[in-house]
Homo-oligomer: 408 residues x 2
């Protein structure tokens, strides 16, 4: 299912091919976020045109609305959404976190309170509120944010849920700890996550009536936990890496800074079986791409390109930090495309001045046009990175990108 085509000699970076029932992903690859079964503002046809190869939808959100039974009766999430290419679904572990400890601690999953982050302002820790989740050995009981109804996610139930959705690559239920959890809580949670992984693995292996499934050839990813504690990460990498999953994910908490996130990868990845694809769950920024690829990550999902697009922040190769804020008055009468080197629909048809106007008046068209550009930008960058890995010139490419941002 996963073939490594090229291994970079000077880092853990590798170029590969991840074969799924709905097509092949050329890795390293960016995974576009389609939480509720659509990338916000972009329909499947345009996603393909942009070059997106794989999307990740959200088990928790689709469970609440419209429900996995409905999706299964309509032929599964591929048919339901009209996206006929590779698809992942996460397990809901992140929601268990963000409605629980994340809410209580007022933090996000990924490197939540980066003090050394000079590129993108992170959300400030929010005032802590009461958890909507009760965790037990059995699983996670939580209240719906939609209607307050009570739901229960067990490792086995989440496999059944994802079988009904029918994505190609699915994830075990894990407990995503907070960067504010101490070592002892993090260790206990990791042990429970390992037991949950074992249960999920068994549930996944249990024969079911294949005729009733939208996608009988799913692949299951285990998730490594352990917070920002090197010994825990190493232990988790060995345990999860030894469970014969089809792929392995590195889950949060990823520490309190970008440097800690990189350290987490440094502790974890070298201990993972080399032949399995590695997924990094939810990274923050474009500036991290080179760093995570170097550390041996094959796929990663990231909501930033689409989220910041809707807010008017657009990627530009030759710009400081590779981005501009379109709300800036400097672009008021700028007839150039967002990025003169970009070949996306938006850059071929529209000026910065027009897009800035749409952004400032809050037109729906803006969200789509901006999202198309940022997606295309990341897809092309990942293609460049892959080619550089194959050609053995990843260092050169990173230097070129750095120079482009400094020339601006």
């Amino acid at each position: 299912m996963f073939k490594i085509a090229h291994q970079d000699p000077t880092s853990l970076a590798r170029a590969g091919r991840l074969v799924t029932p709905h097509g092949t992903i050329e890795t390293p690859a960016f995974v576009a976020v389609a939480t509720r079964g659509t990338v916000k503002g972009v329909e499947p046809w345009s996603l393909e045109e942009v070059g997106v190869e794989v999307v990740i939808a959200n088990s928790y959100h689709l469970h609440l609305r419209p429900g996995e039974e409905t999706i299964a009766r309509l032929g599964g999430l591929h048919r339901f959404s009209g996206w006929n290419r590779p698809m992942m679904t996460d397990s809901g572990g992140f929601q268990v976190f963000s409605l629980g400890a994340g809410k209580e601690h007022g933090v996000g999953k990924v490197a939540s309170i980066f003090p050394d982050d000079d590129v993108e302002p992170r959300p400030k820790p929010r005032p802590s509120v009461k958890s909507l989740v009760r965790l037990s050995e059995e699983g996670a009981r939580f209240r719906s944010t939609v209607d307050g109804s009570e739901h229960f996610f067990s490792p086995e139930g989440v496999i059944a849920l994802q079988r009904q959705l029918g994505a190609d690559l699915i994830f075990v239920l894990d407990e995503c700890t907070s960067p504010l959890h101490d070592r002892s809580y993090t260790a206990a949670a990791m042990e429970r996550t390992h037991r949950w992984a074992e249960r999920a693995r068994r549930a996944f292996d249990t024969q079911v009536e294949e005729a009733s499934l939208p996608n009988p050839s799913q692949a299951l990813y285990g998730i490594v936990q352990g917070g920002a504690y090197p010994d825990l990460r190493r232990a988790s990498a060995r345990v999860i890496g030894g469970m014969e999953f089809d792929g392995l994910a590195i889950g949060g908490s990823l520490g309190r800074s970008r440097q800690e996130m990189f350290q987490v990868l440094d502790w974890t990845v070298p201990l993972l079986p080399e032949h399995l694809p590695r997924h990094l769950l939810g990274i923050g920024q474009i500036a991290d791409l080179f760093a995570v690829v170097r550390r041996g990550v094959d796929t990663f999902d990231c909501a930033a390109p689409t989220r910041i697009a809707r807010n008017g922040t657009l990627f530009v190769r030759e710009a400081a930090a590779h981005r501009i804020n379109l709300r800036n008055a400097a672009f008021r009468e700028d007839p150039q495309p967002i990025d003169p080197s970009c070949d996306c629909f938006t850059c071929r048809h529209h000026s910065r001045a027009y897009l800035r106007h749409l952004c400032l008046v809050g037109e729906l068209s803006f969200y789509r046009l901006a999202t198309l550009h940022n997606l295309r930008f990341v897809v092309r960058l990942m293609q460049e990175i892959r080619q550089a890995v194959v050609a053995g010139r990843l260092d050169d490419l990173e230097r070129e990108w750095l120079a482009a941002s400094q020339a601006a």
Copy 2:
């Protein structure tokens, strides 16, 4: 500029061709509303694919943001927006109304309080508030709804504004009265609108440096007023019809009911010069299409198809009143396209069940997909109507449509 290809022998309906510097409009035609220089959620390329032939943008809104000077410096509204096909701009007369008398009276322009309307609920009269507009013989002084700044629209200024925008078909400044204005106010306002029309006509005829204009071959429409008073409408039709405009528009108020709107057309249209194209400013619903075409209207703008789409109401040929509300639980697991007889992108790719899901969770993609469908539906219906006029079978077509809605 306007050629009548076929005149229906039994009604005032006609099929024509309206030639503009940016292409030809086959009439009768629907004009899509692009208030701030974009149809909400749909970029120009998709509009063309849907078959939209002409859009109408809004002088008032574009004056406030981004400003006509900015648009002129960027080559005019066609180049600015990327829409290279026929385009209208209204004069701002409707905003003068809706920020003034409309606000004070708590009513809309078009047939605002239809008591006999059984098809679409109209907005209820709102509690009256203070006008943001002061009208004088000179023009309209108003405060911006964006930042409170003061602006002044005169008949001459609005011509200059629209010259900078550069649409193909532009309108004189008029005063759009309220259905709650009495006869004496309506008569006085109509007289002033006639004087404004004369001033606009003169300003339009004044030579300007053509090199500085984005579109030197604009055509100017006069606007007939007179409320729901037959003698006033007839007087206005004669006066405006005699002023040698390139086209004529029937402006609001259009009365208090659909029947009154039809009466306004019955009083007005027969008195207008036959060779000029006639535009109806802002009609409410799809059910009115046959009626207004029969009464001699060549083009009409209507925000309803796009507005109701965003709210989940989608056109279906074989449905009561030719529409369904997608929020209805009946569509929860409906695998059919919105309208099985439709050839639009949305109907070719997506099920009612999926679109309903997107609608209920408020996904951005929904607004676009729904809008594409409703636009395509109206465009095709207008094509059918035009063919029926040419073939002399308008009655038959209307009967077929009525039967389709009753069969449902």
